[in-house]
């Protein structure tokens, strides 16, 4: 390394310092820009739906809850609607009422014992599986729990 001239040394030193400074601002800047995209606040929260006694074995019951959702510095409340059903009054299943095809709201038709979507005549069975029509997958289901007589669902 004896042939390193003063000029060459200075050029390299400047390049190293410039790179270090650029990295010191650049690396945090990347985290700053992509940060919110990986933010999953709210997921995993338990949302209370209502008392367990309102759901009896038989037809699923549409239950609604209001959820506070954070988007950046704003919080807005969203309504979550879920069909809750039970076979024994102890274990509950909760199905989203949003059709997995194009997002229309499904309703329960007791005569046919299925969920009917008005948009493209899709029908889902009681367990949420696709009976007929275009939906690509069964209705989304939520994890449920029963606590002090209140049914909770876990936000996805």
């Amino acid at each position: 390394m004896a042939d390193v001239t003063r000029r060459r040394f200075l050029v390299r030193a400047i390049a190293v310092m410039a790179g270090a400074i650029a990295a010191m601002v650049g690396a945090p800047a990347i985290g700053y820009l992509i940060g919110p995209s990986s933010d999953r606040s709210g997921s995993g929260d338990w949302i209370p739906l209502g008392t367990a006694t309102s759901v009896q074995p038989g037809d699923p019951v549409l239950m609604k809850a209001t959820v506070e959702r954070k988007s950046g510095w704003l919080t807005d409340s969203q309504e979550v609607s879920v069909f809750v059903s039970t076979e024994n009054g102890q274990n509950f299943t909760a199905l989203s009422n949003v059709c997995t095809h194009l997002g229309c709201r499904v309703r329960w038709v007791p005569d046919q014992s299925g969920f009917f979507c008005p948009c493209h005549n899709a029908v889902f069975a009681r367990d949420g599986s696709v009976a007929t029509g275009p939906p690509p997958r069964p209705l989304d289901s939520f994890e449920t729990k029963l606590e002090d007589g209140t049914i909770f669902i876990k936000e996805a």
Partner: protein
Amino acid sequence: MANRKETRSARVGDWVDERSGWRLAWSTVFIRKIPKVNWLYTLGSATLFVLVIQVVTGVLLTFYYVPEPAQAHASVRYITHELSFGWLIRGLHHFGASAMVILTIAHMLRVVLYGAYKYPREITWLTGVMLLLLVFSFGFTGYLLPWDQRAYWASVVGTQIAEVTPFIGSWLKTVMLGGEEISALTLPRFYGAHVWALPAILLSLVGIHLYLVVRNGITSIPKKDE
């Protein structure tokens, strides 16, 4: 091995040079002869460096900041306390603003004390004076954007100072505020000035200023008998 890599990068350099003439531009800007000077001659470059920091961090801040009265402060709080490294980006911009003012004035003092504003550098000096005023304008318009009590009252005081301008004072204040007092109209005005109008003018003037520095060269330190 190192040799082959160098010839390859030289070939790429030749290819680009043949089509752009970048080597001449590079050597004109960076490999020019300068007199023997001291560290005070780096103040202009230091200002330029901080300007780059301000541009980069300023652009990053606009990804989250919202110039609307109900949300402005909340978005600033979000940047500072919830975003990863938001505190750093905003902090750099905040302290960089002070650094801009200090460095620009220090650079100006060096130019004044060494007589560097004289022939043939009068235009460099004039654009420099305009740049100093622009830096103040950036500081003034940027100060309102966090939309807290300090920002609000500083802008009240600042526009009242503008109000004592002879003859056009009260008109000037109304134009600045977009009304009689600070309102929902004031914040987007200051924001538009701060991120669009002022940068456009500043960058144009910086271009002229730097062109003239390269074109005319820098002054040497004045001697005793000069």
